[in-house]
């Protein structure tokens, strides 16, 4: 087997620790991820006591070979995209740590926790105000979008 690149080594380690000690409500599809380390599917459950209690979501992580210097591309996929002021109906998430504020000290686990907390602190289920326009015009890759992080409260 060829030697693993630094990005593969790190992803392998993250995958192992995420499978071993997943945060509450978060499970990674380990078989799929170990077959293709650059594409992960993560299942997420709405936290009890929040607006999303009982709902199930699926997140997709895509990594480049520059990870962790380059942030992962994270989107919601599947039938149930959470209705949230920072989540577009095509699954794109407006979250600063996924682009401008990304740091290599962050990890899949910390991104998952940020998304869980973003959902949990929501007070009213609604789509972003520019949803229909954005979904029609945006690039497939959310990282190509120049996000305007207008609101820190949710």
């Amino acid at each position: 087997m060829a030697a693993m690149s630094p990005s593969e080594r790190r992803l392998q380690k993250e995958l192992m620790s995420l499978m071993k000690e997943p945060p509450p409500g978060v499970t990674v599809d380990g078989d799929q991820a170990s077959q293709n380390l650059t594409l992960w599917t993560i299942h997420m459950e709405g936290v009890p006591g929040t607006l999303y209690e009982g709902e199930k979501f699926v997140l997709q992580f895509k990594f480049t070979n520059k990870y962790p210097f380059d942030s992962p591309e994270v989107t919601f996929i599947g039938n149930n995209i959470p209705v949230h002021p920072h989540v577009y109906s095509n699954g794109h998430i407006c979250l600063s740590i996924l682009t401008d504020d990304w740091s290599p000290a962050l990890s899949v686990q910390s991104v998952c926790l940020s998304i869980v907390s973003m959902l949990s602190s929501c007070k009213e289920k609604k789509r972003p105000p520019d949803n229909s326009f954005y979904v029609k015009t945006c690039n497939k890759n959310p990282k190509k979008t120049k996000w305007w992080y207008h609101d820190d409260s949710v």
Binding site: P6, K13, P68, F69, S103, P104, A105, S107
Partner: protein, 316 residues
Amino acid sequence: MNIMDNLFNVLKSDDFNTLPHLMKGLNTLFEAVEANQSGPLKADLLDPQFLSELESVPENVDISFGKSLTDIKCLIRDENLRVHEVYLKYDGIKRIRIISVNIPFAPFLEYIYSTVEEVIVAYLKHVITLQSYFYELENIDNNCVVVEPIKPTFKDDYRNIRIDDKTWLHVEITPDGYPTNIHLIGQSETWQDKLQAGVLNWDHDKNIVENVMSIFDFDKSMLLSKGNTNKLDHEDTQMDDGILCGICFCSELPNSPGVPQPLCQNSNCNVYFHQNCLFQWLVACEGGRPPAFGVINGSCPTCLQPISCSKKDCVI
């Protein structure tokens, strides 16, 4: 019968239908092949004069062969009973080259020697001049906690000595045994002040360890205290032992030397980084432009406090 036929026989045979049997069969086969190959080498490849030379080396030298009979490893004991490894290559009659030695300063590497004895004499003559270098390194290794190199040898002419969990002292040793390029890694201001004052009062009649102890007001037990450096001893870290880098999450980098260092100067940020990883990240933050003077500034990936990193030793 050639090797391939033998191999097919083993693979097809019913005697080897379980894995342990198969392994055993293959093993016997390979042993036979190996025995066949090394047989005629001795007679054909080496000239008898060279062989007799090898038999008559002085008793402070041990000779062994490497991959082939022309690769020779000499273990030479010097007059202070330190053992040195010298690797030689036999290029032909009266043509012997030194391939590598376990010391960093070896001005005689390019020469071609006619006998092994000539090599030993030249090496021992050179090694005599390095006695203070060896002494200082041994003294540091025996009396301090050396965090880098991980397995220090005489080939490494520097040591990173643990001062506390967040601070290491870097010292390089010259061939004459003098310290040079002394600086702190991950310095706190208190240690920095002590070092600056201490370096001016360096006592050249004392050895490096004694000077370090008086600079930092340490006694012997404090220098040998490992603190939390070994905190990762528990079983969770089977894949990597030692301190992990906050960027690549590993302790060793496959393609470059170095262990994660306490580079962030925020005393509340207990994260270590490979110099290489941090440099790469800070350059990426600047849009990929490498810094003009080798030192790049930015913010710590973990605590966002100001951090800087120099390019020295970095491979990108």
